[in-house]
């Protein structure tokens, strides 16, 4: 239950980076946002979110700090680092390349 088998390896990382590129947020908000934008299709479990966050932080792509959230509770907020921004660009480019290739193949079949 920790990782859906059909989630392409590394995609979760890219999604998190993309979400954080918009604005810093805490783990809970990230999980809600993930569900929202992927319409539950990707089925990212909350269980796999946190290890991924810790890994990204450890790679130096995101930064965590304790801040007060809207409801005045102390919460761990993640934000993108310059390194993370570069990584996101790299992964996005990579993703576009791969997905373009794949959809090309898919279309080929249909024709």
């Amino acid at each position: 239950m920790s990782k859906p088998p059909d989630l392409v390896q590394g995609t979760l990382d890219m999604l998190i980076l993309k979400i954080l590129a918009l604005q810093p947020m805490n783990g809970w908000t990230i999980s809600q946002r993930l569900k929202q934008i992927s319409s539950d299709v990707l089925g990212v479990s909350d269980g796999s979110l946190y290890p991924a966050l810790h890994k990204l932080e450890h790679h130096g792509w995101i930064r965590a700090e304790w801040k007060s959230s809207d409801n005045n509770r102390r919460s761990r907020f993640y934000s993108l680092t310059p390194l993370g921004r570069k990584q996101l660009e790299k992964e996005t480019a990579n993703w576009n390349r791969v997905s373009a290739a794949i959809s090309g193949i898919v279309r080929l079949r249909e024709a």
Partner: protein, 888 residues
């Protein structure tokens, strides 16, 4: 990972590492916050509180597992695991302090013995000269004569060698010499070196104050009285005087200008002695006497070294130097016929203490390797015992998900802790033993043979430490392969049979220990036997009641005529002393450091081989010398006082010379051609030992001192008085003749003989000590194994007792098991020893390396030790209470 990322992540990683509790706490807080939000949301959707919590937990998955995944995601596992294992390992060691202390002690002794011997090998053989750069390119140079005898070089030969050797970067002379040093009214003898002017430059040593020698200062006859003094001398004698350069110091009564002070830690280039001063070779006559030698190709008095160019190996250099020696032979046949020049790496230097210590240290390297193996076997055995005890712990760990790799890592970490602590202890031992070698050598004068604990020794020890870790960590770890999860968790099976697979490893280890100890025991016994035989074998002269001394005539400026008068008058005065039976001068005292001079000889009717240049060593002795040393006269007569420079040349030959050159016929009355001309043989002396106790009888002849004069011969006195009173009386007589004269050390001839046995003494002491240590370790190993077996098989023993075995049966059972192991080890050891004892080679004296008596006595000692190691466990076995055992 690139640099930018590293810089960014480093603080994070350090934080994960050192503030792991805080990081953990934050992570938990974050997760629980998520949980709370989820619960709140679920309640908002209309769930009950209980349901909301359950559903949130399900959505998140196992909290503990996620925590663990987060920890893993932080990538801390390798370092953190190690730190954790370290902590755990230390706790384990603290929990069983007896075991830990024993294991660490064993390893410390094993590693310490190795580190000490390496430090000696390094400090005495490989890098003997502190502060000298690139010692691996330095090679000792000496002349050779047929028959593999080593001789000095002459100064002209050295100059030719230095000029013509293109593979040598440099060549320099350093000949050890003594000097009487007068400071105020106090005169004492110190040791220094006669050196070529390039000495300090060639070594790369820069004086602390003043300068080294300048080109040209080694030219001429006593023309450059300048001296560089050692740091110790500067500190102790001159009180660290910063204005010392330019001042004058009398050496051998000649005023020398002090031109420099050697740096601290530079002791010159003579293994075994710390040099106190250096003077240029041009001062040779002041220090050595015997005329001007810098232009005499026949005067072979110098000891020298070459520094080969970088990258040049010994073999091509030797080839070139041999070619030079051949050219010298062709150009100067009168002095150089049959003479070669050889170079040796520093550790084989033929003219200093390296020659004596070298072979012993080579053997010690093997011996300490054995000791280390024995120590490792002991610790491994101890760890194996513990691995049985910990079998349950390991099984539990495997059951709750530890990988075998993880267990292996932990066992290796524990091994590393033991090895590291043992190595630290070993270093302490090596440090304490630095100066031990000197203490072992029975030399009168202060010897200097320090071990060097440098980077190479440390690297070596670190290597050993890792090796030990692997050995003591992997053997118990290999046992985890056999761990089955269910077995130990079910019940302790409680019998030796169940542990058979591990039993053979332990027995094997003990057998290895016994085997190695037995080899060392045989080696030690052989050396002790040799030492005993050296001490009790007659060297061919009587060693009791003879004192040997000398008078520093050269230092006081005596020339030949004055010295002759002095010597005659002194002998007259000594003969009149109470207790003195006889007294005689001799150029060389047997079994001492000095070399015998040699002379080409010719004998009527003796046909030499085509390429043979018959050359025989000789000794210049005074009237009554043979009587003083009680060397038996086989035929003819002793030298008389009348055999002086005005009388016809005479000689006394020894028995071996008679056999070789006169085919055993009595040569008295026949002619012998020596350096000075044809001499008449007047006597035949019995063979005796001349240079070492181990030598085979060799030809030698004696000539009267007056007919081949030396200014400073040794004085031998046969007396019934004690050494002390003799010394006092002789000094009184010497000073009555000339109050300015100093005397050299006085020792007994017996002491001189004992010193000749110093290689054997050092080897025997070291091997006995280490052999004893090995024996002790093995006994501990055997004891441990037997105790453990007995403790493990109480049930079996109890059954045997219940079935009618009595205490004696059980006692026998256990002791026999120990003896079986011992016998196995001894058998292997004996076979190995038959080959290995040959390594002792030259150190053995009149003992065959496979001497059955020695092997038998080693066997007896081993058996006694083995039985005593088994007695306590056996006694415990015999006290087994069958009723209690079977009840439990």
């Amino acid at each position: 990972m690139n640099l930018e990322q590293w810089l960014y992540c480093l603080p994070l990683r350090l934080r994960s590492l050192f503030h792991s509790n805080q990081v953990d706490q934050e992570m938990k807080e974050e997760l629980s916050e998520h949980l709370e939000q989820q619960i709140a949301e679920n309640i908002g959707k209309g769930m009950s509180a209980e349901e909301a919590r359950r559903s949130s937990m399900l959505a998140l998955g196992g909290l503990t597992q996620i925590e663990q995944q987060c920890r893993d995601a932080r990538g801390k596992s390798v370092v953190q695991d190690f730190v954790q294992d370290l902590g755990y390992g230390f706790r384990q060691l603290r929990r069983s302090p007896g075991f830990s202390a024993l294991a660490i002690l064993c390893l410390a002794l094993g590693v310490g013995a190795n580190a000490a011997v390496f430090s000696w090998v390094e400090g005495v053989l490989f890098r003997p000269y502190p502060m000298v750069s690139h010692q691996e390119q330095l090679f000792a140079v000496a002349g050779t004569v047929p028959g593999k005898r080593i001789d000095g070089l002459s100064w002209p030969d050295f100059l030719d060698l230095r000029r013509e050797c293109t593979l040598c970067k440099d060549a320099f002379v350093t000949t050890i010499t003594d000097s009487t040093l007068n400071i105020g009214d106090h005169a004492e003898v110190t040791t220094g070196s006669l050196v070529s002017a390039n000495y300090f430059d060639a070594l790369g040593v820069h004086p602390l104050l003043g300068r080294g020698f300048e080109t040209g200062e080694d030219v001429g006859n006593d023309s450059h009285p300048v001296v560089v003094v050692s740091y110790q001398m500067w500190r102790n004698r001159f009180k660290g005087d910063s204005q010392i350069v330019g001042k004058t110091q009398r050496l051998n009564n000649v005023p020398h200008t002090i031109i420099g002070v050697a740096p601290e830690g530079f002791y010159g280039t003579f293994v075994g002695r710390a040099m106190q001063f250096w003077v240029p070779a041009s001062m040779a006559e002041t220090f050595e006497g015997g005329g001007y030698k810098l232009e005499d190709r026949g005067a072979r008095w110098i000891e020298s070294y070459v520094r080969l160019k970088p990258g040049v190996a010994r073999a091509p250099a030797q080839q070139q130097i041999s070619a030079i020696a051949e050219r010298l032979q062709a150009s100067y046949p009168a002095t150089n016929r049959g003479r070669g020049i050889s170079i040796w790496p520093l550790w084989q230097t033929p003219f200093n203490q390296a020659r004596i210590i070298g072979p012993t240290l080579e053997i010690m390297v093997v011996v300490v390797a054995f000791v280390l193996l024995i120590a490792c076997a002991n610790v491994t055995n101890l760890l194996l015992v513990r691995s049985f005890v910990r079998g349950r712990e390991m099984s539990v760990r495997l059951a709750i998900g530890a990988s075998r790799g993880r267990l292996l890592k932990q066992l290796l970490t524990e091994g590393l802790i033991l090895a590291a602590l043992g190595t630290a202890g070993g270093f302490l031992i090596a440090f304490w033993c630095r100066h031990l070698l000197v203490k072992l050598l029975p030399e009168g004068r202060a010897l200097y043979l320090p071990g060097a604990i440098d980077l190479r020794v440390m690297a070596m020890s670190a290597g050993i430490c890792l090796l030990v870790t692997l050995v003591i960590g992997l053997v118990p770890a290999s046992q985890t392969r056999h761990l089955d999860l269910a077995g130990p968790l079910k019940a302790e099976s409680g019998s030796v049979v169940a542990a058979r697979s591990r039993g053979w490893i332990r027995s094997g280890l003990v057998m290895v220990q016994v085997c190695l100890s037995f080899i060392l025991l045989v080696g030690a016994a052989l050396l002790l036997e040799s030492l005993q035989r050296i001490r009790t074998t007659s060297p061919g002269f009587s060693t009791t009641s003879v004192a040997v001394t000398g008078v520093a005539l050269v230092a006081s400026g005596y020339d030949v005529p004055r010295a002759k008068t002095f010597q005659t008058e002194l002998i007259d005065r000594l003969s009149g002393l109470p207790g003195v039976e006889s007294a005689a001068f001799a150029a060389v005292t047997p079994l001492g450091y000095e070399n015998y001079p040699s002379s080409p000889v010719a004998v009527d009717g003796y046909q030499s081989l085509p390429n043979e240049q018959p050359e025989v060593e000789y000794n210049q002795v005074g009237a009554g010398y043979l009587a003083t040393l009680k060397i038996p006269l086989l035929s003819g007569r002793e030298f008389l006082r009348s055999d002086d420079e005005n009388a016809p040349l005479v000689a006394i030959v020894n028995r071996t010379m008679m056999l070789r050159y006169w085919k055993g016929e009595d040569p008295v009355g026949r002619r012998l051609k020596v350096k000075a001309g044809w001499a008449r043989v007047v006597g035949v002396a019995a063979d005796s030992k001349y240079e070492s106790m181990g030598e085979i009888p060799k030809p030698l002849f004696y000539v009267p001192l007056r007919q081949d004069f030396v200014i400073e011969p040794d004085l031998n006195i046969r007396t019934t008085e004690s050494l002390q009173s003799t010394l006092a009386a002789v000094l009184r007589e010497v000073q009555a003749l000339d109050p300015n004269l100093a005397m050299y050390d006085t020792i007994t001839l017996q002491e001189q003989v004992n010193r000749a046995a110093s290689p054997q003494l050092v080897a025997a002491t070291l091997i006995s000590t280490l052999g004893g240590l090995a024996l002790l370790l093995s006994a501990v190993g055997l004891y441990g194994l037997m105790s453990y077996s007995v403790a493990q098989s109480t049930r079996e023993l109890g059954l045997r007792m219940a079935l009618g075995a009595d205490a004696a049966n059980l006692l026998r059972l256990v002791v026999l098991r120990g003896l079986r192991l011992t016998t196995g080890g001894v058998l292997f050891g004996a076979v190995a020893a038959l080959f290995l004892t040959r390594l002792l080679g030259q150190l053995l004296y009149h003992v065959s390396p496979d001497d059955p008596v020695v092997f038998a006595s080693a066997l007896v000692v081993m058996t006694v030790i083995a039985i005593s190691a088994c007695v306590l466990p056996a006694w415990r076995a015999s006290r087994t209470d069958p009723a209690r055992v079977l009840r439990d």
